[in-house]
């Protein structure tokens, strides 16, 4: 009897709770649907395609690990991995400090700060097709850079040679992308309390000491974040490699993603391309987890 008396009360409570909960959940549905259609389904389809010989008309046939075996036996894969790693490394060495330096110099400007910010951001808004045409001209033997070098009595620089091609791409990419990172750093700089600088100045710290002991440590979190983002972005680079050099000369600028694109769209082998995509996906997931773990460890200390 007691049970019978208690149930209606409990039921009402439960019902109200579920109702509130259900309404809330409804608001999540659009986001869920969008993620499902445009993110999760493609990811899982990609992984499942990597086990198939993909044929849109006659039907896919299951091939097990064949695509992976084929991908791993392709010597170009190792060239592409090496090139991608070199590109990622060089992009850090040559390009990573540029936005930091730019942000610091812009923030110490007394005048024309907003003008400098706009000028710094301009390259990012140039459409890709114009950009590559422009750089082809910059790198031309009779283009502005080589004309200038010849003018001051230096020999021409061969931007298209096998040794220099990656370097040429990094200059181009840095020039195009440093603007947005600069803006983020400027925002980070604005958040550093002024009194830290005043205290440092009272202690007799010069410009370099202030940058070394106040600015850079305060930006540490931001620098790490942007480093991870840059590594992820450069690991997936292929656009400038494709448009400037087509992955050449002799595969010197063939990146992992460019090889994947070539498998899929030039050789129409979607199974292999999906296998390559899945390998990359697995690698990036592991990389992200490790970075997060490391960062968490760093914060605790």
């Amino acid at each position: 009897m007691e049970l019978q008396l208690e149930t209606p009360v409990a039921k009402r409570k439960m019902a109200r709770k579920t109702r509130v909960y259900a309404t809330g959940t409804l608001f999540l549905l659009p986001a869920f649907a969008v993620f499902l259609i445009f993110l999760w389904v493609p990811i899982f389809k990609g992984i499942s395609y990597s086990f198939y010989n993909v044929d849109f008309v006659s039907g896919n046939t299951f091939v097990g690990w064949d695509n992976y075996k084929e991908v791993l036996s392709n010597p170009d894969l190792y060239t592409a991995i090496k090139n991608t790693l070199v590109y990622m490394g060089l992009a850090v060495v040559i390009g990573f400090w540029v936005p930091i330096a730019m942000a610091i110099s812009v923030s110490v400007l007394k005048r024309f700060q907003s003008v400098a910010r706009i000028i710094g951001y301009l390259p990012s808004i140039i459409p890709a097709i114009v950009l590559y045409g422009m750089w082809q001209w910059f790198y031309d033997p009779v283009g502005p850079i080589n004309s200038f070098l010849n003018f001051i009595g230096l020999p021409s620089f061969d931007f298209y040679s096998k040794e220099h091609a990656v370097f040429s791409l990094i200059i181009l990419e840095t020039w195009q992308n440093f603007g947005s990172a600069t803006l983020i750093y400027i925002a980070g700089l604005a958040a550093i309390p002024k009194d830290l600088y005043e205290a440092a100045e009272l202690d007799g710290a010069g410009v370099w000491a202030r940058i070394r002991y106040v600015t850079l440590p305060s930006l540490k979190g931001l620098i790490l974040l942007l480093l991870v983002l840059q590594l992820i972005a450069t690991s997936q680079a292929f656009q400038s490699q494709l448009l400037m050099f087509g992955g050449g000369p002799d595969n010197a600028t063939l990146t992992y993603l460019l090889l994947t694109t070539r498998e899929a769209f030039t050789y129409i082998n979607f199974g292999n391309a999906s296998a390559m995509g899945s390998l990359m996906f697995a690698f990036l997931v592991i990389f992200t987890v490790v970075t997060l773990k490391l960062r968490r460890g760093g914060d605790e200390t």
Partner: protein
Amino acid sequence: MKKSMLIGALAFVIVLAGCGSGKNEGNASSTPPASTTDATDGSTPDASTPAAPTPNADPVSIVAYAWPADKTEENATLDARIKRFEAKYPNVTVTPKYWKYENTEIAIKMASNSAQTEFTTWATEAQMLSSKKWIIDLTDKLNGWTYAKDLNSVALAPFIIDGKTYGIPIDAYGMTITINKKLFKDKGVELPPLDWTWDDMLTAAKAVNDPAKGIAGFVPMGKGTESGWNWTNFLYSAGGEVESVADGKVTATFNSEAGLKALQFYKDLKDANVIPKTWALGYGDALTLFKQGRAAMVMCGSGNALDTAINQGGLNKDDLLIYPIPSMTKGGKHIGIAGGNYKVINGLATKEQQQAAFDFVVDEYFTDAYLDSIDAQITSQKGKNQVYVPQLINYWNDDSEYGKKYEAVLAKHDNVYKFPAELSQLMESKKEASYETQAYYGELANVIQKVFTSKGDIDLQKILDDAAAKIQKNNFDKVKIE
């Protein structure tokens, strides 16, 4: 606990979604290509889903291959043609849609079933498109068509595979070298003879070359599959072959003696410094350098470089000349790659749509309406100060009745480019390789780039052998010849 359950449920849903879609894919693709379910989504706007009372009058919608929006004259011609066709076939609705055939995009267009019902493609694509069943066998349809026997057999050849015809030629080309005569004149260099050799070409390139002004003697394509396509002309003129087919097996043969000679010629061009240091030139890049007056010689299909240079670059038509591919030695053959544009029918369309698309494609073949539209186009180009550059090979035979009518149309105008009569006598065009052609061209791009960017001596035979071994293992060994 609740959280983990939620995550678990989410993961389950995702896995289900993944599996579900995978299954659907399998089901959809295992049905015959001509099923209505395949064709009603995507490409056909008003698909014929509502059932019509009589089978003959069933409304059919097809999508035609349109020009890009800035080609107003060509699009107007197409619209007029559609009107005439729809008047003749009232049950067919034709919608023009723009997508230009690209070998790197076709797979996506087929996967999403958004390619036109009839589209234009190139000679290289016949084997790939037919083996994937992305285009249909037209043999039966052609047998029922009055004019099938009048089609130019040279133009038709690349699309005949194992006795079946998969495409209808629009026009065909043989590879040529276009020369900027003005650059020769400016430097006081004599033009090479039309019946020229590799040596003549190298000598001419050296003489006209002017790196300080950014002018290259010759601009070979060095980036993408087109670089292999360019080089193969020298392979052919040296008497070489890309591949041989025997006992159901494809074998790479481009690393032959002829191949070595052709590659040595590229090395000679590089060592003579007559090619641009900016070797990474695709088709468009090379033609752009040419129309800017920065290249004395460029290689492409019949009059295409000429067309671009005159009608986009504003060069004078009298400053340009077309040469055949040079022969390796004096008196040798001027062999170049043959290619062309073809009409094909989408393999994913319904049977009715395929028939309607075929009817539409051939509707005005060998008719006066087609000649009138060419006439109108030439007139309109004259108004814009442009020159009409005809194709060297057409879908009809030049000495046929129709061919003569076409010549008469061209003769009426003074803004039509005239090829020297001697040219077609010298030119010998050879079909492109049939199997894994794009993969071969792509691998050759690496070979050519090695030659263009290496310093000092390199072992050309080894480079060719390595490329041949690689393409043999990765591509040719996997070809299944039915």
